[in-house]
Symmetry: C2
Subunit: 301 residues, 2 copies
């Protein structure tokens, strides 16, 4: 991992999942900063997109600022409707250390991004994860569940003031959550039903906050364009709950409700360990390691 | 794969799975020929070992000959008892093309190895797979199920004559099967029972030859040292039956008999595609590709 000294991954979420022109503009803004774009996922029902990229911390910070500028210009939250909770045009900005990069570097980077978002674009920022200024702000949910509309009316109230700038959100671009965290896997499971209650019930059963699986967050969301619903998950620590266990749990709960699973959907990227855990479990192996795979042993791509 | 132009994989099976000195001597013999040793698996109940290595065709041919010389010197089939069928001290020698290497090169290599085994060591050879001289000799089973003891009494009978040398096997080293084939996955599933009938019944249900899964070969074998039994499989084409389907089928048949699965065991190496198929299926993804895995996208080992 020495080749990645000082590198950081960043996976900003934007409140735009439909307009190809806006998505292309966001992509150009990100790539113009000299980072390596690894993935882009957009969903019309969520009306949301995630760009995953990596680079040196200064390049990553610049990429976030350039993309934020584009988001302010192109996205108007006042007319934005989607099924995924959001408070901003540039909604969430996680910095994830790669290789030997220390968490402290990502925390400092998140705070620099926060100051620049406010000073250059008038976007107030909530710091979260390792960059949070108080324990109750470590998790995103405290502020995110409000949504842009409620936040506009209450950002000045106690406990809801932004950490940087504000208190009121930007009139069209809202506010942003910026933080540092470890790698997480974002994964959705689509169900062959239009019954949103089924998705919400399954999400309620599997998420840690209601007594489900450790390190699993889950929401039930409606996918209007597909006429189905999905369980949308974050697995924030695959050592506590491997991804395949979370997927199995959704499938088992769905089966118990008599609901068929359409497919799984990865948002962003998978750490190799998650794939290895999954293969080992399915094949009843104690572990799968790269030295068991012929292409890895021969040093092939 | 251009880095592997002309390279061949070889996975010879030896009738020695217990004596560490003999295994070390076989290893030295193979490595002295300048090939890259990728894996070695030995099983005391099978009393059998598999060395997996890769290299240029001339180096691979030399490695087989040097290991055969060691096997003739150290292994006496007259006193060898194991649960796995075998006809020789060096029992089976498959050549598998890597990268752009054509099958014809492996066929020619197998035939050269056959001539050298006979002329230098007096080991008669049955050619199999793509190197077979007649369609009925493509599959190994026709000769292998006899075992060394029966073969000694009948190798001169019609239909059992070796393709090269013989007809009688070497008095202590027997005969060898040498061939060219595509990649196969050798995989065992251990069952928590001493009832060999259960393993044989499951093997009979899942193998292609008795109406089971396409491209799957299976045997039920006793593991005396562990007090258990296993279903020992070869999946010869993971596009026809993915490995995880074969493992699932064994688990399902075991469950139907009320027998618990102890573990899966890979013999040799796994093609990356088998791991990707398994992960995709368990996560309900259409496919898993390297561009979905962060370490692969960043070009990390």
């Amino acid at each position: 991992m020495t080749a990645l000294r000082g590198w950081v991954e960043c996976a900003p979420n934007f409140s735009e999942g439909r307009d190809a022109h806006v998505l292309a503009a966001l992509r150009r803004a990100i790539e113009s900063a000299g980072v390596k774009l690894l993935d882009r996922t957009a969903d019309p029902d969520h009306h949301r997109s995630v760009f995953t990229f990596a680079g040196s911390l200064p390049a990553v910070e610049n990429a976030v600022l350039r993309a934020a500028e584009t988001a302010v210009e192109k996205i108007d939250l006042a007319s934005h409707r989607g099924v995924h909770p959001r408070i901003g045009a540039l909604d969430v900005v996680p910095l994830i250390p790669l290789g030997d990069t220390p968490f402290d570097a990502c925390v400092a980077g998140a705070r620099r991004i926060a100051r620049r978002l406010w000073s250059q674009l008038e976007i107030p920022v909530y710091l979260y994860g390792r960059a949070a200024r108080s324990p109750e702000r470590r998790a995103l949910e405290y502020i995110r569940k409000l949504g842009f509309e409620k936040l506009r009316l209450s950002a000045d109230s106690p406990g809801r003031r932004p950490d940087v700038g504000g208190p009121l959100p930007h009139p069209t671009a809202g506010a942003a959550c910026v933080g540092a965290r470890g790698f997480l896997v974002a994964f959705n499971v689509e169900l062959r039903t239009a019954d949103i209650a089924a998705a919400k019930r399954i999400a309620g059963k599997i998420r840690e906050s209601s007594g489900g699986l450790p390190a699993v967050k889950a929401l039930g969301l409606r996918l209007a364009t597909r006429g189905t619903v999905q369980v949308s998950m974050n697995v924030v620590d695959i050592d506590r709950t491997p991804l395949h266990r979370a997927v199995e749990a959704v499938c088992a709960e769905a089966a118990a409700l008599g609901v068929e699973v359409v497919r799984g959907e990865l948002i962003g990227l998978l750490p190799r360990k998650a794939a290895e855990q999954t293969t080992a479990q399915a094949l009843r192996l104690d572990a799968l390691t790269p030295n068991m795979v012929i292409e890895d042993r021969l040093g092939l791509d």
